[in-house]
């Protein structure tokens, strides 16, 4: 049962692509200011869950409450304006605009900021994500890792209450991963709830207090990271194969 603290509560989420069932009867809830990690093998439905939560695609079944209101029928821009920000697993920069302008669109529309307040938010977000030196660069000229950082910075510029992150840490060196952990901690410190999909489990557990494991479109474990990582079903479905597919670190 959701307590007064529940920020997002998704119940019975189902999603199919034609004959392929990608999500079946998924329950997912997060409290305000909580940080939750999502792990699971390739094709488990993690990104699809995030798409459904953010409104990028409608669910076929279930409903989603955000801040106590049913947002199931709202489209992505409406959910963003209410405080759900997201990044994309495959970065989707606005290539013809500068990095700063990428953020400005986000701050002004999703973040509903005006004038100097919008500028300040963008500069703050760029600084936090270490992207200030790239502010005037056209986004299409960025390398992959910088595009991922841009995804984070842009989502942050919408001033979200809930930030949905999809594999922003892949391909980082240890030092870069440590920086990213620091950034996410600062974001959490501002009272933002974070859902973070990531294959690099040892990085993830430095930030999140709860871990969800998905497999075959279902949630197979949900709880404290230690418990979830020792769960037999999780080891069987994910960690066993992860040792081969996703070398940790």
């Amino acid at each position: 049962m959701p307590d007064a603290d529940t920020l997002l509560d998704a119940r019975g989420i189902g999603k199919r692509f034609n004959a392929l069932t990608v999500l079946s009867d998924v329950d997912f809830a997060i409290r305000a200011e909580e940080a939750v990690g999502i792990v699971g093998p390739n094709g488990a439905g993690k990104t699809t869950l995030l798409n459904v939560l953010s409104g990028a695609m409608p669910a076929d079944a279930g409903h989603i409450l955000f801040a106590g209101q049913d947002v199931s029928r709202l489209d992505a821009p409406a959910r963003c304006r209410r405080g759900i920000g997201r990044s994309h697993q495959i970065p989707r920069p606005f290539g013809g605009m500068t990095v700063f302008e990428n953020l400005l669109v986000a701050a002004r529309t999703g973040g509903n900021a005006h004038g100097a307040a919008a500028y300040d938010r963008c500069v703050d977000s760029l600084r936090l994500c270490g992207m200030l030196p790239f502010a005037n660069r056209r986004a299409e000229a960025l390398a992959l890792l910088d595009r991922k950082r841009l995804e984070l910075a842009r989502a942050l510029a919408t001033a979200p209450r809930l930030l949905l992150l999809d594999e922003i840490g892949g391909g980082l060196t240890d030092a870069e991963a440590a920086e990213l952990v620091d950034i996410i901690r600062v974001i959490r410190g501002r009272g933002v709830a974070v859902v973070w999909i990531e294959h690099i489990v040892h990085v993830l557990v430095q930030v999140v207090g709860r871990l969800v494991c998905m497999d075959g479109g279902r949630v197979i474990a949900d709880g404290p990271p230690d418990t979830v990582l020792r769960d037999a079903a999780v080891i069987d479905a994910y960690l066993g194969s992860a040792a081969h597919d996703h070398p940790v670190g």
Binding site: P77, R86, F100, E101, V105, R108, T109, G110, V123
Partner: protein
């Protein structure tokens, strides 16, 4: 933390804007100082600038590649005739026709803007064919026999020439001003985001359809005004001449050669188009083939167009549509 500022107007931009004001002031005296033939040609140039600016706002800033903008060009002229025949003063009829076509484009946009990429382009072309056929059905137009703007025919040629020139100059200035303010404001940045990635734009809060609608209606009204002005110079209205795809071909040439996705590009492109037409227009079909080939070559080998290339090369930021972050810690502008 050191102060970081966002720069829009620069001294160079202010100087450039003043230069534009001077050029416009000189042009405003046009009919008083230029010979009649040149006044007439300049009126055509103003129409070309409008067409280029509208197509660029659609394709260059919003990703809406239309090959059917002649629909609005033709409808603008046709509605102007209807209004004039109904007793509306003739120059007011030109403006009202543009507004009416703008309103008409709202329901059209509801259908067209749901189409993506190539589908949108084809949908617009079908729309133009449909508009042409419907206008031909009007007994007044009587198929390709056509009709004319009778009210203007009665006005002495010199007065008509000057008045139409001033109308075209005012229309061009106003439309460029509107496009400038639109692109410089919130909607401009949202439009570019939609152009670059619709799904990402939606994910940061941009209402994609509503944003596209603004530019679609503006471009419809702008092309309609261009068509109505063309009617005022030509007087006669034959549907085939106004609903011809050649108008969109001109828009594409002007935008691609001048610089797609830059504000100044289509103005430069229109001037080049005007010069080429003046020099080679008499060659007929070969002139059109040359135009098409030139547009294609630019699209393939110089996709930024002349203004876009110059902007990159000389690091020009003249009219301030974008945002430039100045980081004073390094004492220079970081790029």
């Amino acid at each position: 933390m050191t102060q970081i500022t966002v720069q829009r107007w620069t001294p160079a931009a202010i100087a450039f804007a003043l230069a534009i004001a001077v050029v416009l002031a000189v042009l405003a005296a046009g009919p008083l100082i230029f010979p009649a033939g040149f006044t007439e040609r300049l009126t055509a140039l103003f129409v070309y600038v409008i067409l280029g600016a509208m197509w660029n706002a659609l394709a260059g800033y919003s990703g809406l590649v239309s090959v059917g903008q002649q629909a609005f060009f033709g409808l603008g002229a046709f509605v102007a005739i209807l209004l004039s025949n109904a007793g509306v003063p003739v120059y007011a009829a030109l403006l009202l026709a543009a507004l009416a076509v703008g309103v008409l484009s709202l329901p059209i946009g509801e259908v067209m803007l749901r189409l993506r990429g190539g589908e949108f382009a084809i949908g617009m072309w079908v729309l133009a064919e449909l508009a042409h056929l419907l206008v031909n059905l009007d007994p007044l137009v009587n198929g390709e026999t056509g009709t004319s703007l009778i009210a203007l025919d009665a006005v002495p040629a010199a007065a008509r020439r000057a008045d139409t020139y001033w109308c075209a100059l005012a229309a061009m200035t106003a439309l460029l001003g509107i496009v400038f303010l639109l692109l410089r404001g919130r909607i401009g940045a949202s439009l570019q985001a939609v152009r670059d990635d619709e799904q990402a734009a939606a994910s940061v809060g941009v209402r994609v359809l509503a944003t596209k609608r603004v530019v679609f209606v503006l471009a419809a009204a702008g092309c309609a005004l261009a068509g109505a002005l063309w009617l005022a110079t030509a007087i006669t209205f034959q549907p085939r001449a106004y609903f011809s795809v050649q108008w969109t071909a001109y828009m594409i040439f002007i935008t691609l050669v001048g610089g797609i996705g830059t504000f100044e590009g289509p103005v430069l492109g229109a001037v080049i188009f005007f010069a080429v037409e003046t020099l080679f227009g008499a060659l007929g079909v070969w002139y059109l083939v040359g135009l098409g080939a030139a547009a294609l070559l630019f699209a393939l080998f110089a996709p930024r167009g002349l203004w876009g290339a110059a902007q990159r090369r000389y690091d020009l930021r003249l009219l301030p549509l974008g945002f430039h972050v100045v980081l004073p810690t390094t004492g220079r502008i970081i790029r």
